[in-house]
Subunit: 330 residues, 2 copies
Amino acid sequence: MARSTPVRWRDIADDLLRRIESGDLSPRGTSSGRRRLPPEKDLETRYGASRNTVRDALSYLQQQGYVVSEQGKGTFVVHRPDIVHVTLSAAEIDLAPGLGTGEWYNRDAHVPGHRKVRVSPVRVEVQEGTKVIARYLQTNPGSEFILRHQELYLDEQPWALQTSFYPLEFATGGASRLLYPRDIPEGAVAYLRETLGYEEVGFHDEIKARVPNEQERRFFGLGESAADAVFETVRTAYSPDGTAFRLTVAVWAADRTRLHYNDGQVPLDVLSAPGTGPPGGADADAGNADAGNAVTGNAVTGNAVTGKDADATAKGSPSESPSSDDAESG
Amino acid sequence: MARSTPVRWRDIADDLLRRIESGDLSPRGTSSGRRRLPPEKDLETRYGASRNTVRDALSYLQQQGYVVSEQGKGTFVVHRPDIVHVTLSAAEIDLAPGLGTGEWYNRDAHVPGHRKVRVSPVRVEVQEGTKVIARYLQTNPGSEFILRHQELYLDEQPWALQTSFYPLEFATGGASRLLYPRDIPEGAVAYLRETLGYEEVGFHDEIKARVPNEQERRFFGLGESAADAVFETVRTAYSPDGTAFRLTVAVWAADRTRLHYNDGQVPLDVLSAPGTGPPGGADADAGNADAGNAVTGNAVTGNAVTGKDADATAKGSPSESPSSDDAESG
DNA sequence: TGGGATTTGTTCGTATGTATG
DNA sequence: ACATACATACGAACAAATCCC
């Protein structure tokens, strides 16, 4: 066992990956800036394999998220977008004067830097609550909810899909603007405080990572690779008497998003610019892109100690490279 | 355009998936409890397609994480493990009397219910800090760190990989037990308070989702499917003077883990048992497994409003089902 | 223990369809 | 209309791992 490479397609895939990461392949694309791989026919002769075997290699690289093939055009290296750091904890950052950098979106999410958040028109529906929604909002299944859905763009790039749920009684009881398909500029939280006196004194977040569905793929521009995941955050907001009065579900593309939470006393520069290190510090690591875990590196999980059997599949293993996209946005 | 199904392999995949989810396939496996699909040769005749086309369908299902094929044995339905809800925010849950259910692990993570946490022997290394570590801990690159790595098991199931970093001066300055490859039962945080007087008054968490590497695949028992991801949480802990004195990196399998954060006033039952709904409530949704997003369902992102072009690939799309694993563990 | 049957993995060849330029 | 390039589909052969009698 443990032959380094029992299969041809893996050889080809590894070689292609090496050349992709060394910046070797295709000095210029056909027209745009996209890096393009040689056509399958060329690879056929280059590697002396049949087209089907070449396609096995390409299929693997596509599944792993390194390349994407488009009919009639070619196979292209996947462009990894810049990372966006989003702070979800409601830190007192906006209370501290002089730290006005960064944008809040409706008190739920904060991004550092001077970025423009644009929201799509709101889509409003009235729904009979599902069991799951009833579970989160602690109401009985069958009661009605207002659903408000928005698409969020950050600097005109797809950023997040957000859906909020409110009991229908809120609209009939004074907060009628919840039913209008228009943005509430001051934020729904502030609006509910003004109209109904609801104070949001705490929240609970649940975070999952999963494979995107078709709509999410379209919005975020994700491929079929199944290597890219999305975050789904579910926020339940509570009023002083302990009732849940808001449920907000947000979906973020995991390849370009880092979520941040602060708790207790945290230095202000970390609050305002997470993921970028000390302001005057060592220039962060913009673009150094070391392989393996961004933090622990190979030394931790590497085969020095743990990996007593650095066996077959671990070879040139691309499995350590997907997290090598550590380019910073700030 | 927009023929419902232009391709045969997709028809086969959709039909297989439907039968998988209806519990149709294989009343009993060969021996163990694993549900097994019919052999490729049988599917060949059943669907009247060539073996390669059948394999295209199976390859798709495998890539999406629904099945796994093993040479010489067969193709099996992937077993989705129970969900574990982990609370990472340092709520005052342990200060509230009478809520003693659940286990804390070193003040960093809390799981509800009466579960047994077991930790592997600690592996200790002394490392020259990488740029990334230096960035988080705000020290200059090149200084040395103590690395303490543990594997965590929950009820004897692989649960998390955890690595903590401390400046080497801590050990030479009094906290020498950091260098011993033994567990610190009271927790490193308490130990550092006793020995060095370090008080942990706040922390910052950064969360990413990525593809697991080879070691993580082995530990968590993940397949090659590339559909399963891991969470990586990076916790930086701060002392009152604002210095970062601890960096803890944890890796969790995303398919069986939900992360939770609380902020402000949150009802006690949510704090103690997140993800399970009200204690006496509507029995949650254990095992109902509705398709689509667990919360928003098809009604939100569905093609009713947004999907004006409910085109080809969206068909019986399995893309909406990966998140259908909503079984609860409690 | 052995050996044949079963089952998936790999590789080739070939042909045709579809999208792009 | 034509060439390019990827997508789909068929058939065939052998290898490798496992199962079963």
